[in-house]
Amino acid sequence: MSDRERTADNGIQEKNRILLEARHLVKEFPAGGTRKNPQVVHAVTDVNLEIFEGETLALVGESGCGKSTLGRVLIRLLEPTAGEMLYQGKEIVGMKEKEFAALRREMQIIFQDPYASLNPRMSVREIIGEPLLTYGMKDKKEREMRVRELMQEVGIAQEFYNRYPHQFSGGQRQRIGIARAIALNPRLIICDEPVSALDVSIQSQVLNLLKDLQERYGLTYLFISHDLSVVKFIADRVCVMFLGSVCEIGDTDKLYEKPLHPYTHFLLSAIPKADPRLRNPDKELLSGEIPSPVNPPSGCRFHTRCPYAKDICSQKTPECKKVEGRQVFCHFPLD
């Protein structure tokens, strides 16, 4: 929040501080087929995205919408098929691994599954110490001090220094993962569904921790989630994705208050609300299933499920429309 206020105060100057920018980013995976007629999964298609310094940008969407893939492409855990990525104005696609190594420490990732993301055969000391060791902190004492400091930071008791992951609960493991991610003082952290594998009561602890850390270190988050209530809590801006392409990008509050893209609207109304008084038996539901990313629909990706679709929607990919400072990719935005 404070960062957004800062952005507002300092006006244009601050606002232009783009940390990471993606231009026409495309990621495809081969999906078999014959040699003459190879098939591809269109995981991410032509995405333009800006992540501002110090903000939390949420990537929201259903399964297969490419949000996790996009997150991994942005920090080059996957190589994009096409497109450009600018980190602080510097092109990073195609950069040599050696050259990229210096930037790598500025971009880290927190994973969804706290069970798979920690090596079961390494102790907390080794897990959190690994990034430090990789970036040249060879001195054992120095490393131990830093690891203990990080443990304190994320709320893991000091006596667990030599414990192994299986001795921790899901929430604690996620904290260890967070400690590993902030060990190198990164600027950008990709949070890939960091709380969706956690219980409700643990989820709020981790969310608060993420928020505290952001405030303390001025971190920038790309927060990938399918849970719109969590996103509402943590994000400054939201980017809604459907089947590999962006539907809508805008400030969280405005987007939740008045969604412009029909998909955002239905997504918001589909969430079960924790208040029985908000029950609506006649609630309009999105019908049908998510189309296959191997053969995505022509034109607007959403038109097969969209109740407002017209002819043009199946023929032409909608261009970016700017409405009140928000971007929406729809031929007929809601108003």
């Binding site: 259903e62 219980d199 409700v200 009561s201 608060n208 589909a270 079960p272 609300k273 029950r279």
Partner: protein, 329 residues
């Protein structure tokens, strides 16, 4: 609650006999399910909600075992049935659907055939009649092009469709009770909404009672009539849905509801319940929630609270409501 109870679980106890000791996974749970209602069991992982369901279905595996209590289905005690008798009850009068339909469907048979098998097992029909029934059922659970889908293999269907098939299979014999264990947890929000709507429709049209097991307070608020909140193998609070959300009374329920981020407000920080779920092997001596409770008093640490009646049909396992009189044991 004056209605007739189709399923009456009294003081159910299921323990796991592990090398490290006896684990009381379900510890004295009483649940009443009236005809044609949706009952929610909500709680975090490890609270015993799934174990309760497995116990009712007689599906508890070694090292777990039901050690006490009674389960009455339509007035008949099914606790001590032989496996053979139980398999007749299962599927016919009570059925269950699971979180991940992919694991409950055999990947090498078309889904239609599998549902047909379920019909032939319980009803005397010819194969063609049974097939027609399957297609009717598929239509009823909202599967598009049911004739075509009859021949589809599980992997050719999406998660939502698979869950519809599972619901269809569970409904073939018009069971009195259907237990749904996290039926929408693996699904996307828009698909989840569809499935919830389908379950509500089935409950209303066919009069089937549904026990919905979930960790999602939103799902409970959306579809349930009556809710049981479980924690560490015990029911902490039970109430009608509206009463529960209007007046959450147990500190745990209050904490749970407060810690969920809300869509309609912007909070700076979320409320948190400190600590983690206690290990069932080393439960606190008193109330199992006392170590995390912000309202705990001295006696909470030494004495186990009973389920007290806070209001009509509203039970709370907390000493604060002691004046209301006991509901259990």
């Amino acid at each position: 609650m004056g209605e007739t109870m189709i399923l009456d679980i009294k003081n159910l106890q299921s323990h796991f006999f592990t090398a490290k000791g006896e684990v009381p996974a379900v510890d004295g749970v009483s649940i009443q399910v009236p005809q044609g209602k949706i009952i929610g069991i909500v709680g975090e992982s490890g609270c015993g909600k799934s174990m309760t369901a497995m116990s009712v279905m007689g599906l508890l595996r070694y090292p777990g075992r039901v050690v006490g209590g009674s389960i009455a289905l339509a007035g008949r005690d099914i606790t001590h049935l032989t496996p053979k008798e139980l398999s007749l009850v299962r599927g016919n009068e009570i059925s269950m659907i699971f979180q991940e339909p992919m694991t409950s469907l055999n990947p090498v048979y078309p889904v239609g055939k599998q549902v047909r098998e379920a019909i032939l097992l319980h009803q005397k029909l010819s194969k063609t009649e049974a097939k027609e029934r399957v297609i009717d059922i598929f239509r009823a659970v909202g599967i598009p092009e049911p004739e075509k889908r009859y021949y589809s293999y599980p992997h050719q269907l999406s998660g939502g469709l698979r869950q519809r098939v599972m619901i269809g299979m569970a409904m073939v014999c018009h069971p009195k009770v259907m237990i749904a264990d996290e039926p929408t947890t693996a699904l996307d929000v828009t698909i989840e909404a569809q499935i919830l709507q389908l379950m509500k429709k089935l409950c209303k049209e066919q009069g089937t009672s549904i026990i919905l097991i979930t960790h999602n307070m939103g799902v409970v608020a959306e579809v349930c009539d009556y809710v049981y909140v479980m924690y560490a193998g015990k029911v902490m609070e039970q109430a009608e849905t509206f009463a529960l959300f209007d007046h959450p009374s147990h500190p745990y329920t209050q904490g749970l509801l407060k810690s969920i981020p809300k869509l309609d407000e912007k909070a700076e920080r979320l409320y948190t319940i400190e600590g983690v779920v206690p290990n069932l092997l080393h439960l606190p001596k008193g109330c199992s929630f006392c170590t995390r409770c912000d309202q705990a008093q001295e006696r909470c640490f030494v004495q186990k609270p009973c389920l007290y009646e806070a209001a009509d049909g509203h039970g709370v396992r907390c000493f604060q409501y002691e004046s209301g009189g006991q509901l259990d044991e």
